[in-house]
């Protein structure tokens, strides 16, 4: 009967702003970061690893939030925790003082995500299964018990959710066998960051095609003429049979989004991603009606299940891009997958960042096996950055995620990564990165009773 003995937290940051990896119209200088949590136990070799993803400053806030969120786990019996993952989640989530800071959004929710991602990793390791397999072995009732369905009953009842899962339960094994042979299809964003030169764009598009990708995504929204030039280059390289997606990272108001996307219609994008504020359900619906047949996609900043419920109810999106580290871990992700199934919207998870690919591969596989049962109009993001920091990095071949086999949620980082990139005292940040680090440190005095007055 192992017991949880410690919740260790780490502020891990990578200096990605130095190379313009990840640059887009809204986020020009992100330092990809993880608020990383290790749930330790007294059983040798047994721990759970999880994180949320940020882009630099404020990652320490998420670490602090994870500390507050994880506190109730200390001293608990591991098996009691992992055998009631719904109850564990609701217990941590329902701290009413922390709830005031959201509810279910922003830093307090990112902290919950980091902790519960580690708990799900622990559950999968305890069961000696990769997370997608742990989920695929759960009964419909067990899955629905784990899902956070609060505030959703006007759109999806518990009984409906169970019935949907029961429909596909008898045929799960055949879909696992299929994915075992083919992998789960993905697309690449590695080519299209705004900070890249035309030459680099052309070369990376060609490399993507050569590597077997049938979907390419480009950032847009900073300058219309430049967008036209870059999209023309991309179409020249990938041709017109491959899918081209565009991503504005929330830079437009609603009328401007309609105008700008319409001006790029000649390049036949499959979707426009994040055309406006991620909170604007009705705005996305307006844009969708105006730019059809170009699809509307959003979700990486989708704060919680209540937002996604409304995106579905308002028929606001064609593609749901949930984020595994922004939603409240698998518990809330399950709720969004179930809603998406009910409303027949494909889920194409957001990935990239630090470790998001490692997480979402499990979710997409599980979705096909047990929830949607479909690959139609579904393709999961893949970005070729920072995988070397993970003990079991995702494996992509011929444009498809290969099925993970190691137990867990693939979230464990190398010890050497923590040593190098812990902020601000890791080897990199204390050494060659010191000047960059100073940009991210508060220069203010915490007043309290000690302030100079």
């Amino acid at each position: 009967m192992p017991t949880i003995t410690a919740i260790d937290t780490y502020d891990v940051r990578f200096p990605t702003s130095l190379s313009a990896d990840g640059s887009d119209a809204m986020n020009k200088d992100g330092d990809y970061s993880a608020a990383y949590v290790v749930v330790r136990t007294d059983q040798p070799g047994l721990a759970g690893y999880g994180f949320t993803f940020t882009i630099g400053r404020g990652n320490d806030l998420c670490v602090s939030a994870a500390e507050l969120r994880g506190r109730p786990l200390l001293g608990r019996d591991v098996d009691a925790v992992v055998q009631d993952l719904g109850g564990t989640y609701r217990d941590l989530q329902s701290d009413s003082q922390l709830r005031w800071l959201g509810p279910d959004k922003g830093v307090e929710h990112l902290g919950l995500a980091a902790v519960m991602n580690a708990v799900w990793d622990l559950a999968a390791r305890r069961a000696e299964k990769p997370l997608w397999r742990l989920l695929s072995d759960m009964t419909p009732t067990q899955l629905v018990d784990a899902a956070d369905l609060r505030y959703l009953s006007d759109a999806l009842t518990r009984d409906e959710a169970i019935a949907m899962l029961q429909d596909l339960e008898p045929t799960r094994a055949s879909r696992i066998a299929e994915l075992d042979a083919t992998g789960y299809p993905c697309y690449t964003t590695s080519a299209g960051w705004l900070g890249y030169s035309d030459e680099k764009l052309r070369r990376l598009c060609q490399e993507a095609v050569d590597a077997g990708y049938r979907h390419i995504k480009l950032k847009v929204g900073a300058d219309l003429d430049e967008d036209r030039r870059r999209l023309a280059i991309a179409r020249e390289v990938i041709g017109w049979d491959a899918a081209l997606m565009i991503d504005a990272n929330q830079v437009w108001d609603v009328p401007q989004a309609v105008e700008w996307v319409s001006a790029l219609a000649e390049f036949k994008p499959l979707w426009i991603e994040e055309p406006t504020s991620p909170d604007d359900v009705l705005g996305h619906a307006t844009i969708r009606r105006a730019v059809a047949p170009i699809g509307v996609a959003t979700g990486e900043h989708g704060m919680n299940r209540v937002l996604f419920k409304q995106l579905f109810q308002a028929e606001a999106i064609d593609f749901c891009q949930l984020d595994a580290a922004r939603l409240g871990s698998v518990n809330e992700v399950l709720a969004v997958y179930l809603l998406a199934k009910k409303f027949d919207v494909p889920v194409c998870p957001h990935a990239g960042g630090v470790g998001l690919c490692e997480l979402v591969q499990h979710l997409s596989i599980f979705d096909y096996v047990a929830v949607s049962g479909s690959l139609e109009r579904r393709v999961t993001e893949y970005v070729d950055h920072l995988h070397e920091h993970f003990v079991e990095p995702c494996i992509v071949e011929d444009g498809a995620y290969q099925l993970p086999t190691a137990p867990g949620y693939s979230a464990e980082m190398h010890e050497s990564t923590l040593t190098a990139y812990s902020f601000p005292n890791g080897d990199f940040w204390a050494g060659e990165g010191a000047a960059l680090a100073s940009r991210a440190l508060p220069a203010l005095s915490r007043g309290g009773l000690l302030a100079a007055r």
Copy 2:
């Protein structure tokens, strides 16, 4: 030419959970708290005071967020800052790394609110005017320049906003004279917290009537029979001419809200406040259609202007209860007032907590003077708690806020309050409150390179 020399921050918490003040169906044990910010200058006697409001654990996160948000102000010329309050706000808001943590919601936004509330207080003190007067002396163009209108142009353009303000500009002085005589009407929530006994409820309702209040609000949502009993007591005391409001603090799903509120219709509530998730625009619209003529009110957890825009667009609410410490300070509050005017929805700000009454009195007065020009269906919350901690507490007489006369936003706390209630080292928390304090401290180890592994 004074210069900003320091941004001092304070984690101030009051042990309100000990007396059940503030208890409701969702928040049973809040310790009312403020992440308090002082913008100091090198001119003797000139500083700006501001805060955001929380209910305990996690207040430290908001303090840290305020530190990150306020950092760019250090060393700036005070007059340059206060003469371009829109530009100052946009500059602090647009930190793209911090934006990732929201955007415009949760802890990072509460931190922005605390800092910019202090900047507005500084601006009013620099002008030697109470904040409502500073705002009432600004031209329509100056007000719209200060307002955060990003993502709103599908509902309200800049030109429309200016035109609305111009309509009322010539008659501002007459409304100031009127309020100077009458004050701004308010209602009390002090009677109706869930944790109070029937005897206390009856006594407090009678005291409210005797004090001149025409509106009383009660918490509901924990137990239907108990709600019926308490509402019957309230109606017995206040009669049927006074208005009775009920507040569920987000405990219901949408269908349950419709059912429960319908079961309380016999008590003729003016509004049902926070019937469900504060994020659920479409859910509020559904509830509103179902429970009419009972009104729907929400907003204290309304995270940002994009949410309010949609509440208006979807005709989801009858009363807008914006929160002065959750929205991004006066800059975002202005945007919501302008939207409310456009959609003809009365704004009845949320107050109570710590210091919210001190803030919202300025906003309500300004709204009448320069934006809505109406008192119809408008009444601002008042709760008789914790005012003794403020240097210039609000003054309520005959159920109305009296016009503040001191320069600033009424946000300055007494030094003795900081000495006593700074967390966790103030006199109270280090002394008699130590046991309560331990519940709010993280028991976890920040790992980094130092964790026991």
